[in-house]
Symmetry: C2
Subunit: 242 residues, 2 copies
DNA sequence: GAGTGGTCTAGACCACTGC
DNA sequence: CAGTGGTCTAGACCACTCG
């Protein structure tokens, strides 16, 4: 169990990778429990403390969720606590309203330069584009244009989107087995164009937020790129800095 | 060492609070090392592992910085790695340019309703207001208006600001003993008014980011409120979601 | 009560830093 | 070389959940 190589990697990190493999391979699916610490310890021939440290790190990265007395579970976006993990939008008056997703369009296309650069696909590879509206207490607040890898989300259609309840990421988990781990957002201020102005109910030229998001699944593989146009008339983009 | 109260608090968290007290009281100042784990363990009559767990949490919260072989240090904003911790601004082309802070004005005032609400001071209490410009590679990108508690930052003046090299938060640490721990930001899109347009070199009405930040020191005490007006012509607000 | 994660300990050894 | 943090172990006991 000793590692004398120049690129030293502690045992618990090797264990972490083994557990990660289980997640990637689908051995344990989102929401399901993984084996207990003692069970994993005997399986991997290490002490419980080492497994514990591996799980600690993964829980800190929101990959696993520990629940004392019950077990350790694969994190899922359908957990209500995870809903605002990727949606940093709050009402100016502090009220918390549930959001409703209204799918507008969904069509297939071939990857252009932008998709190639961000999604790591080849030029002309199939991609899927979704346009949808996000409403808070009945009012439209966000217009999203979402680019997805066609190979990963094969079968996605407007009908599927309309049938589904809940956030897009729960749909991606349950129907396509894709779990979003991490995302990067780039925010800029832009004037409302004609289409966005109409959809969001603001005057053309009104300053809006352009929020570009790249979303990664296991292995830091980018699978979604989206641009959201946020109206900040009654909401704002909220961020906590630590 | 047993705790049978209904509000159970593990030992390592009590140790954490003791170390926190040392930070708040200034027993160890930013950049300085705290005593070694074994030393703290004997001082607090617990095992090294318990001290370790306390320090682990504080390192995760960016309160302490561990350096193998050297010791554990009080985190500081003058560490270059911490520079972009609170400034989520990157160039669109990905280049990393150092920023220069240009103080414009600094005056004393009495707290209005906004300051009362955010900074938890009394109406009419002394506050200090700073206006400054942030330049990247010579170009103005951010105009900041900064509201500070007068009791905490007594003695701050335009001269002091102009003399100082480095970020504002390093000045706050070295001259006023105030360390910023955590911040909240609220981002909205607004049109450039006349003054901002002139300072940032954009046309009046250009969409800009309004970034309001509340900054907290130990004990979650708010000591700074600022509104930054960001030009997103060549930069964007970057955020990583985990 | 059995099983889970959570805490605490004591001790051994490894990796890194600086004298 | 001594001193620091980093890893790993084995074992005891506590707190929580559920049947």
């Amino acid at each position: 169990m000793v590692n004398e190589s120049p690129t030293f990697s502690p045992l618990y990190r090797q264990i972490k990778n083994l557990i990660l493999q289980g997640l990637e391979s689908g051995e344990w699916r989102p929401g399901e429990p993984i084996p207990s610490e003692t069970e994993l310890a005997t399986r991997f021939n290490v002490s419980q403390g080492t497994v514990r440290k591996a799980i600690d790190e993964m829980a800190a990265e929101n990959l696993l969720l520990r629940r004392q007395g019950k077990g350790t579970f694969v994190a899922t976006h359908s957990d209500p606590r995870a809903f605002f993990r990727f949606l940093r939008l709050v009402a100016l008056d502090g009220s918390v309203e549930p959001s409703v997703s209204v799918p507008l369009e969904c069509w297939r296309a071939k990857a252009g330069q932008e998709a190639v650069r961000v999604l790591h696909v080849q030029l002309g590879d199939p991609i899927i584009i979704v346009r949808r509206l996000l409403q808070f207490s009945g009012k439209p607040v966000v217009v999203d244009e979402i680019y997805l890898r066609g190979d990963v989300f094969e079968g996605l259609s407007l009908e599927v989107l309309k049938e589904h309840q809940g956030s897009l990421y729960t749909l991606f988990e349950s129907k396509f087995g894709v779990r979003m781990i991490r995302a990067e957002e780039r925010v800029r201020a832009i004037p409302a164009d004609h289409a966005s102005a109409e959809l969001l109910g603001v005057a053309e030229g009104t300053p809006l937020l352009s929020v570009e998001r790249v979303c990664f699944t296991y292995g830091d593989k980018p699978v979604e790129w989206r641009r959201g146009i946020y109206s900040t008339v009654e909401h704002c983009y909220f961020n906590e800095l630590n």
